[in-house]
């Protein structure tokens, strides 16, 4: 993670360093690659505008507050019906190892099930779960990004995981 004193100074660096996590967050929340692209693009535009006035602090919290607010503002406003997620092509995965083909196919099917289960979660649960387990933020950073107390984050993550477990069977 970027320390408070080492925040990126231009949006291209933000895209380079955080782009995969931003896009993955958007995709996991929307289940739609087009919406994920649009949201990510809007996030980077807002980052470019906001960097000039950025005051040193928690860059992670700042970035993910922008990211989540973009989701709230844009995605909810022109919400498309979540589509059945496309199978994740192995060549699009960042964690590109070379497991046997049957393991790859099994992981894709499992990933699709998990994605569907995520989309079934209420947004209030989905966002903190994805921020924690996909993006890798701390509870404090999630709380700042979502504008809620840490105790609320803890509760939502736990309830979200409990529901996911029920959905996944």
């Amino acid at each position: 993670m970027t320390s408070p004193d080492q925040h990126p100074t231009d949006w291209e660096e933000v895209a380079r360093v955080h782009g995969r996590r931003i896009y993955s967050y958007a995709y996991r929340l929307t289940g739609n690659p087009d919406d994920a692209s649009d949201l990510s693009q809007e996030v980077l535009l807002r980052v470019r505008k906001g960097l000039a006035g950025y005051t040193p602090g928690s860059f992670e919290a700042w970035l993910w507050r922008i990211t989540h607010n973009t989701f709230v503002d844009e995605y909810r406003r022109r919400k498309r019906r979540p589509t059945v997620p496309l199978p994740e092509q192995p060549d699009r995965m960042v964690r590109a190892a070379s497991p046997p083909a049957d393991e790859v196919l099994a992981s894709i099917r499992l990933g699709d099930d998990v994605q569907k289960a995520l989309l079934d979660l209420p947004e209030d649960f989905r966002a903190p779960v994805v921020m924690c387990d996909v993006v890798g933020l701390s509870y404090a950073e999630i709380a700042e990004a979502l504008g809620v107390p840490v105790g609320t984050v803890r509760s939502r993550i736990h309830r979200g995981r409990a529901r996911l477990r029920e959905r996944l069977g």
């Binding site: 996590r21 931003i22 896009y23 692209s37 960042v94 998990v114 995981r161 409990a162 996944l168």
Partner: protein
């Protein structure tokens, strides 16, 4: 937390390392005696692991030009460098003093004649 309370949302916080040292000790003590909470812990561990196993996704190339085309690799960088080299070279050629050649060292013909006659001991 009383002895009869179950751990509830503390379980996820415990898994995520988001509890204090004292809470962690209490939680481990409770788990040792509570089968129900051990079951709940297993459930949230499975859900947590499933989401964490999702891969990070590669964004579309158009979205992150800096990723696909790092600044040093952009087409205009070598072109711009070549232009700078050409401009500098032309500037140097045009701006430097005219090269000195033997043709430029002109001595009046009469002087040459006088020098030759002097060397040969002939009075002009």
């Amino acid at each position: 937390m009383s002895a009869t309370d179950h751990l509830g949302e503390l379980l996820s916080a415990y898994l995520d390392g988001e509890v204090t040292t004292d809470e962690s000790v209490t939680i481990r003590g409770h788990l040792a005696d509570c089968e129900s909470c051990r079951g709940d812990l297993g459930d949230v561990m499975e859900a947590r692991a499933a989401v964490r196993a999702l891969p990070l996704l590669e964004p579309p190339a158009f979205l992150l030009p800096a990723v696909e085309q790092p600044a040093v690799g952009r087409w205009y960088v070598p072109v711009a460098a070549a232009v700078v080299v050409v401009v500098l070279a032309v500037g140097l050629l045009l701006g430097r003093p005219t090269p000195v050649t033997t043709d430029d060292v002109t001595v009046p013909h009469t002087e040459l004649t006088a020098r030759a006659q002097a060397m040969n001991g002939v009075q002009p």
